[in-house]
Symmetry: none
Subunit: 401 residues, 2 copies
């Protein structure tokens, strides 16, 4: 019996409220071997109080040693095994720019490139043209028309864009057209299985028309397509947990991930304060609230230790307003670690606290990597966090008599 089958059998409904605060990239490392991490350096009276009344642990996003991107990191927290449920690159990219994928869509990432007179790639990134220039070229591509297919072309950043094909019988199994080299022509879109033949034809027609339209561009006169993917088939929060779930996020990527899990996007908050305003406003309408805080990750990615410390303190200061709403289960965790030392996501497990009336005290004094290691949840797979949330919300019945 899989965990999801078990869940479906055991889920009960009640009036409880669960709040999941994801501080992106929360976990860190000290700058010097014997030093303190960002979280250990930050002054966090409210997180510490939460740790004292809750249960803590270190969550492993995917597997020991595996560094997740935002997609797998969030899927795990949402209770989907990130090795079982995968979001194809194209689908994630579309999600990341806020494009709402439908069930008949196939998305791919596009890169503009420069082709020479013989049609061979001379620059794989079209000289990294600025976003404004790319936006203009993308605008020209709106003229493509393919019989029976709706086509969406959306700019991302610099030379990157997303193309989405919508129509019956499409399939993500099309190979990348990027030859990963210069001096050669882009590849034709090739089906990786018979089911994807139609999609490969559609992609080929798109490229044919597009090439004609942008032939006069000085730099972005060609393109390669990568990561063809349909919308991933995730069971929804309503289906899996019986929860009416709301997502309160600022950035498109996290809104998109929440939408893939069937959450409702709430509000248009642009800051943590506004997110909490939104939370208060929709408190009566939902059972579960995913609140995404980006800046612990972005400061980590920048290698800005002191800035990350400040952002953690910002989050700490905001906590009492969330607690005042009286959630039955309040979780603070991260989708992965982003140590300033590494300036990137990492595999290190993530400090996690869950506070509820049913918590067994584990004697922690502070919310930190070091203390969480000795917490009541131990070192645990992130995909189990939602089971714990559901249990502490008393939303899971007994398994077996």
């Amino acid at each position: 019996m899989t965990e999801h089958q078990l869940l479906r059998d055991l889920v009960e409904r009640n009036g409880s409220k669960i709040v999941l605060v994801v501080a992106d990239g929360l976990g860190g490392l000290p700058l010097e071997p014997a030093g303190r991490t960002e979280l250990e350096t930050a002054v966090t009276p409210n997180l510490d109080a939460l740790a004292r009344r809750g249960t803590c642990g270190l969550s492993v996003p995917v597997l020991p040693g595996i560094t997740p991107g935002s997609g797998p990191g969030h899927l795990g927290l949402f209770g989907y095994d990130p090795l079982e449920f995968k979001i194809g690159r194209g689908a994630l990219e579309a999600t990341g720019i806020g494009f709402e994928l439908g069930p008949h869509d196939v998305a791919a990432r596009g890169n503009f490139c420069t082709l020479d007179g013989a049609g061979l790639i001379s620059d794989r990134r079209a000289g990294r043209i600025p976003s404004e220039e790319s936006f203009r070229v993308v605008e020209r591509l709106q003229a493509v028309r393919i019989d029976g297919i709706e086509t969406f072309v959306k700019p991302v950043k610099e030379h990157r864009f997303v193309v989405v094909f919508r129509g019956p019988g499409l399939d993500g199994g099309v190979a990348d057209t990027d030859p990963q080299a210069t001096g050669v022509a882009p590849l034709d879109p090739a089906p990786q299985s018979p089911a994807a033949r139609r999609t490969a034809e559609v992609a080929q027609e798109f490229v044919r028309q597009a090439r004609g339209i942008i032939a006069d561009e000085p730099k972005a006169n060609g393109m390669v397509l990568r990561g063809f993917a349909a919308k991933p088939a995730l069971p929804s929060y309503a289906d899996l947990y019986g929860l009416r779930a709301a997502a309160i996020a600022v950035y498109p990527m996290y809104k998109g991930l929440a939408r893939l899990a069937g959450m409702t996007l709430v509000g248009h908050a642009q800051s943590l304060d506004e997110q909490i305003d939104e939370l208060a406003r929709c408190w009566a309408d939902y059972d579960f609230f995913f609140l995404h805080f980006k800046y612990t990750d972005s400061t980590g990615e920048d290698g800005a230790f002191a800035e990350k410390v400040k952002r953690i303190e910002d989050l700490d200061r905001a906590l009492p307003r969330i607690e005042k709403l009286g959630p039955d289960v309040l979780i603070v965790t991260g989708d992965h670690s982003t140590p300033s030392l590494l300036k990137s996501h990492s595999w290190h497990p993530v400090p996690t606290v869950l506070a509820a009336a049913t918590c067994r005290p584990d004697g922690l004094e502070k919310f930190s990597e070091r203390q969480c290691r000795g917490g009541g949840f131990g070192i645990f797979p992130a995909k189990h966090l939602m089971l714990l949330a559901m249990a502490h919300a008393q939303r899971l019945g007994k398994y077996g008599a």
Copy 2:
């Protein structure tokens, strides 16, 4: 997606060096309930320093409560799930005496037995004849000739030997011929599936000729064959991790296990000092180094607590020479525990330390069973150790965007 598929997707190459020191049977037990284990008794300033700068944990070789042999113990450390990848008894026995199995080989363990005038087994171990006598009988068996098959017969110890059949179309699915009783005849080699029919015939012909050759032996005039097995299909270290891997071991069993994983056997060291000489010599030629230290296991098997303590201290004294080479990742662990108290392998989890620049400090003061329990890796499956090694060597890319 399995862990191995994931690895293949994420592996990157760089110039980093990983050293895996396996102190065989490292974990122990106190002789008296409140006492100290062998490792806790040993004076180990270098291991303790390693624990202070690294991350520690207790590794579970197979599953809680499962005592592994050397085969599964090492497979786990090498990153192969020991429940998925099995080394058949015959293949392990051949490996253990240093026989290099080929892809067309089937190996079986043989026991000489004594047959009475009616051909029934009167002694299942041929009176445990001394090794010298057994070697002589094995020598006589070199005369066996089977059409289209190359046959290797190698002595092991006392009444035990190994037979390897080499030829096209062989298969390990042949039942044991040991009836596990006296007063009955050895069984005929029976195929367990159609694919093994030819192998069973070959084995039968081997036994027929052998019986004729050794009919005049006073004790070893018969034989039973057990554990027919082909070479296990392990993906190699090069394939799985993109690592050029060297094994520096003294004993044939561990050389054999390393070879099954595609490591290159380096040198002919006969002591730990010579092993480290070898390590230094081949440092530039490999990315990964497996260094096997036997004596923590053999002293444990002998129930020699104080001797095991000394052997741990020997290992500790050797560490600085390894550290001086500047490995990016240095791991010290064991393939299982061998408590002197039990005089045998055991299921107890194994103290493990990994030191690298990317370690999150876990505040341990000493390398011991007790302290490792509170280490940053917690209690973890041994098969995940290589993921951690690869991550800390910065040889794994990000999973998902």
